[in-house]
Amino acid sequence: MSIKLRDLIKTVRSCKTAAEERAQIAKESAQIRTAMKEEDVESRQRNVAKLLYIHMLGYATQFGQMECLKLIVSPSYADKRIGYLGLMLLLDEKQEVLLLATNCIRGDFVNPNQFIVGVALCAFGNICSSMMARDCSLDIEQLFPHSNPYIRKKAALCAIRVLRKVPDLIENYIPKIKALLSERNHGVILTALTLIIEICEMDSQQIVHFKKMVPQLVRILKSLTSSGYLPEHDIGGVTDPFLQVKILRLLRILGHNDPESSDLMNDILAQVATNTDSTKNVGNAILYECVQTIMSIESENGLKVMAINILGRFLLNRDNNIRYVALNTLSRVVNTDIQAVQRHRNTIVECLKDPDVSIRCRALDLIYSLVTESNIRVLVRELLNFLLIADAQFKSELVAKLCIVTEKYAPNKRWQIDTILRVMSIAGNFIPDEVPSNLIQLISSTPELSSYAVQKLYLALKQDITQQPLTQVGLWCIGEYGDLLVADKSQLPKDEEGLAINVTEQNVIDLVDSIFKHATTTQSTRQYSLTSLAKLSSRFSQNSLLRVKSMIDFYKQNINLELQQRACEYSTLFDFDKKASILDRMPPIEKQEVESPLQTKQIPTQTPPTPHQQQPPSQQQNQQSGGFGSLLDGLDSPTTSSQNASNGQKPQNAMSLLEDIFGPSPVAQTSPQQNMNQMNNNFMNMNMNANTNTTNTNNNNNNNSGTALLDLMSGIMPTPSPQQSQPQSQPQTLSPNSGGGLLQPVPQPLSFPAFQKHGLEISYECTKPQPNNLSLTNINMIITNTGPSPITNFSLQAAVPKYLKIQLLAPSSTTIPPNGSGEVTQFSKVLNSQQGQKPILLRVKLDFQINGQAYSEVTDTPLPSLF
């Protein structure tokens, strides 16, 4: 016979190390397994009890699941109780073993012993799966009118479980609920209310069935609040607070957007709000629920003011829990009545100083939603003060919020620049990545403030150069507006902050020098410094030039490749006569409407794309090219026309992915754009021709259409198209989308120019080699040279996004003869794992030489979405 549970617990507790405990558990588990194998009925109950303990300690106990099933079929109550407990703890709804218990549970539902029905219902309520729910739903329904309230309340909660698993059974339960509400037993009313709330939350169309219960609910609530001391239901001096909270919650659902029902509730809500004792937690729990109900139903204005004032009182409470819920609720209702909440602004700001981080977070959230144009100066000042003392984990969130409100509500640009600078100098290393670039953009687009900004930044850097983002913005501005910084300001009117500092060129260069040498300066900040110096060289006098040059020269041997390259490039630039114009002031940077993570709250309104089906077949080809066009738009700027927005978004991401492979090339921003637009035009033309062609062939109903199409794509389609062999179905095969069939049409072979520069011309011939496997595409790249000199050392490399696989064969030659006298081909195969969802995108890198001069080009080419 094995040891008792009590002894096991004692042994385990006396274990000194975790290893010792593990060994002990392993030993015990082995013994239990042996006992199980020997079908030791005597110790079964004890073994499962032990397993419950072992399970609680966090060890694996799955091997005991069958034992639980054996226990619940035993007629003894003690066995059943442990068995069901084991069922609830050692199994969960995902275990298939559970199904074996279904019959036994159903049998126990009708057991004459109420305790057995009780444990069976409890286990069913906790772990039943959707399959069991369907099987047992009828049994649960039959328990609703049971004579014993103990059974009725448990059955009501089991019904919730059933409905969560199988929502379409809702209708069966609705007629049965009403009877439960007229009970005297509080437990039954409570569970019935829970069931109603659950149904309403699951399916808002059912709410109407319960509207007529409002007077009854009000009556129950009234009797609870006006009843004297009831020992049976008293909790902390309040009669059944849980029931009160439940009723208030159901009233909230029933009164929402319903003035008629809300009218019936006004009185009782006012009564609860005034009469509930707020000195104890339990009273506050009711008040809290009551306030939420008042705020979300169509209650009288007086009542709403009262509710907000209760929250205001909560804010002054010394109990942190109460303040927490107050802040939480205020954030929820702030949109309903912002004025009433604004009155408690000072108290809310005080909460920022609370030692409890949960309170501070809530307060910050609330303040953030309270900011308007009229109070931004005050609130931001408070937030900045708080930023000084906030701990690190809190700073990043605070900084992000500060930046958003500043950008959104700034009264003027100068204030905005000041505030962001202040944020950056207090917590520069915590700011989101886009803030520095936004600030640079702001300064650059506000020429009247550039002198001011550069002086401010100069002063800020004089104090602290360890905040990298601040230093970077500072360096950019110093480089850009260095002349304004050192200009003689004695003529200018002094502004109120006395910002007319006198700085010499020497001072400025000293500052940049100190940034270079500072230990915390990162490499990317050093890069900013180099660029800044280069710019200063064209803004400062000859005297400073020598020093700037020597500083840049110093980095020509730097171990960091990027720095070394920049230093070399800049020092070469000095000997170049057009230096001045290259280093000229940049034109104002235009604000990019990129959806920054900061602005995720603004959901772009997209009109749904026009339905394809309604268009006549002849337009569908255009649709196709429209999609292609939008794909290119997506490359141009993310704000595509709303109609194509959804199309445009994906390729953009894919392209930026490509950007990562070869690095952002300047070419990618300019010439390919034109290239592709041109290409797009070509493609459109082609499509239009194809359409006219389609109509022609339809009219003529001749067999030439295939050839006509071939003519159209003259010479670029080496393989005969499949429709030539089956001329009967031409119209369908010609416009691939018009058929409306379920099968995806095989795209026609297609050829288009992909690159054209320096006489080098590349066109792609795309074919689908296997009609039954559309994910495979062959791309034959045909390379010709229209220039006068031969192209040598030609190499073509291609990169694709992750969802594509590419196989690229070697080119037929590395030399391309001049004047178009011969062509070189390079063959590639692309496998698209997301065929039909994402287009094929290629980034091609070309290296070649003409007359000994090396060229390197990068071009992006998406294939039409058809492919």
Binding site: Y53, K94, L121, N126, K154, V245, N281, N284, Y324, V325
Partner: protein, 140 residues
């Protein structure tokens, strides 16, 4: 569903009772439990009894060396949950003087009388105690 799980953990971080009303894989439970208790332990007396953990709102209350931890969804009334915990503690207090661990099954039984499937069934101390006593009699 209101209550996601109910835990009793001692100040040494050992779980003393755990009841899940939402399906959480068995192997993830110990890590999650220890993560939560670590958060609770790191908080001082004068901090509020609520913390946010993953998608849950965790309401906890400390009695002697035991933390009573309840995870609920965001819409739940936190103050009422605190009251529920207190109610449970009071009932346990009446049921046994012994260490809770030796009465694990009974602690579960009391809990099951109060909460099922994540919702409160009964909160009348009197009724639950009456019932538990009846049950003891039946078993012995």
């Amino acid at each position: 569903m209101a209550i996601k799980f109910f835990l009793l953990v001692n100040i040494r971080g050992k779980t003393r009772l755990s009841q899940y009303y939402e399906s959480v894989p068995f192997d993830e439970r110990p890590t999650m439990e220890s993560e939560i208790i670590r958060k609770c332990l790191s908080r001082t007396e004068n901090q509020c009894s609520f913390l946010e953990f993953k998608d849950y709102k965790v309401v906890y209350r400390k009695y002697a060396s035991l933390f009573f931890i309840v995870a609920v969804d965001a819409s739940e009334n936190e103050l009422a949950i605190l009251e529920l915990i207190h109610n449970y503690v009071e009932i346990l207090d009446c049921c046994f003087e012994d260490v809770i661990m030796f009465n694990l099954d009974k602690a579960h039984f009391v809990l099951d009388e109060m909460i099922s499937n994540g919702d409160v069934i009964e909160c009348s101390k009197q009724q639950i105690l009456e019932f538990v006593n009846l049950l003891y009699k039946q078993e012995s």
